[in-house]
Symmetry: C2
Subunit: 335 residues, 2 copies
Amino acid sequence: MATIEDVARAAGVSASTVSYVLSGKRSISAPTRQRVEKAIQQLGYRPHAGARALASSRTNVLALMAPLRAGVEVNVIMQFVSSVVLRARDYSYDVLLLTQDDVSGAERVGAGSMVDGIIVMDVEAQDARLPSLARLRQPTVLIGLPRSPGTLSCVDLDFEAAGRLALDHLVGLGHRHVAFVGPPPEVMARHTSYADRVLRGFSGAARDAGIDARTIECEGTAPGAAAAVDELLAHDPALSAVLVHNESALPHVVARFAEHGRRVPDDLSVMIISPPEVATAQPVPLTSIDIPTERVARVAVEMTMARIDGDEPAETRLLTPVVTDRGSTLPAVSP
Amino acid sequence: MATIEDVARAAGVSASTVSYVLSGKRSISAPTRQRVEKAIQQLGYRPHAGARALASSRTNVLALMAPLRAGVEVNVIMQFVSSVVLRARDYSYDVLLLTQDDVSGAERVGAGSMVDGIIVMDVEAQDARLPSLARLRQPTVLIGLPRSPGTLSCVDLDFEAAGRLALDHLVGLGHRHVAFVGPPPEVMARHTSYADRVLRGFSGAARDAGIDARTIECEGTAPGAAAAVDELLAHDPALSAVLVHNESALPHVVARFAEHGRRVPDDLSVMIISPPEVATAQPVPLTSIDIPTERVARVAVEMTMARIDGDEPAETRLLTPVVTDRGSTLPAVSP
DNA sequence: TTAGCGTGTTGAAACGCTTCGACAAACGAT
DNA sequence: ATCGTTTGTCGAAGCGTTTCAACACGCTAA
């Protein structure tokens, strides 16, 4: 492999000049720059990442913690992951993927100076990883909102507002018999940040509206969905609208309601919180509060970059949810 | 951050001794080792990855190319990705995730000495990336089987044998009216390695058996599946068995057959090629040829490691497919 | 004419580790 | 007692960059 010295020799300059051509940190005369660039081309020179990291204390690598826990929506995870990778490239960064659900990976790559920053997914309300992350030299950005972020930056859709907004949307259509079909029990049990928050927003808004809105956890399987739907209808046969926050269960939920003779949207209004791709890919397109995965990922990367080379203070950004009406919610019929 | 010198000073030895304690490449007396280890603990020392890479020409990082193209099964991809990450850890390796579908990412991290080896997913029959990959200093292992692997290692389920095996299984049960529901058109058009191979195996075996077995591409959506099923039945109303190699379409295919009054398994035998999790998660568990994602990933990592520090020659390993009968295929009823 | 300044370039010192060759000490065999 | 081996440790070179201080040069301003 060609080194910077080889390039310098070929161009008839010193190594430091080559370095300055590459980094642009000092002005270089046009002729010199051209000779250097030509030498780089001809030799196919690429700086050695390790040497560069050693000298500059910059790796141009980001760590992404994406624990693949039970009950998570793989599609959504993957959307975040690929968006983060894509956005990181805008800043000439690569992404190291960590999938363990403890913090050991982050400690290893952080303390070992393998990365300049860390993005963390699937955050829990009381996330055990946060103290260790806060101790690292590298800035950390959470996708999600724990109870006490401390000095860590956070970004996410405002899921609490989303829950509230969904309920208000349904109530605004005149629905008084409303329910929430949530993530599977294991996700709730972990107090996964988004799950808690939607629930809080939805239930809080229901209380404010004076409505008894039932909420239920739901496995992402056909039998699980059937059980959930059956229970909801048993509890309130007059049920006329549901909010679903569980992509895997969604088709089965809709199917089960159909078996009970409730068709969307005439007999039942359905909303979902999910990426738009999911809401539109259903047999009947669904009114939804879209999870803007691409935007969240972009902001996460931007925040990380700002903290890497700014020393910007930590910050929490919650994106405002919006209802996209796709026709699966209709005004309630008067009793 | 503590450096190796700090540790050496604290332990009253030289830096090289600390290095040898860490690497085990020379024998160190027990007392010395203990002092060094204690110093490491107390200082919380972690070797600087860049410095280590510079000195040793080893990064302990693997690149994983996982292009997220249209029509790929995200679940399967994710299973591979997480298995690769997990297995890499067995060798103290981390994984850098590349998602671009061209080879530029691999060139960057390879030529820049960011990684020691490269694992490539979603390989096409005539994959344009192969020549560049072969030129890199780092060993590359393909998950998939291109037409001419050259000096690159390959590992995969033997999809051609799988196609053949599936057809033989169905014919063995007496079915003579058999069809294949394959991946979506965009996957076929790319000549994605596994897609081509299943098709070849299935069609070849059908020819050998003297059967006219229809094959059809299929979108992963409900309308797409309906269209495919309708066409198959129109072409051969006596159809009694299908092989599906398309997870997204699977539930819709089964549903559409049901709408035509064909129930699994009594009216229709169904097999699928997929990871076992998918086959078992269906309302009716399906007889399948399992894609052993975990095993393929493990072998891919092992092969990469062997070539990193062996200088083993390239090798192709095809895992033998096996039919797992879950009761969704029954003997054909005599006409 | 000289002092001062900006521009472009360079040499050398880090950065933190691995590894080679050397060497001292301890040991066993003669 | 001597020689050769083995064992444990060390010093120093080298890995390929970045970056700082210094310098040469040509200019402008006084």
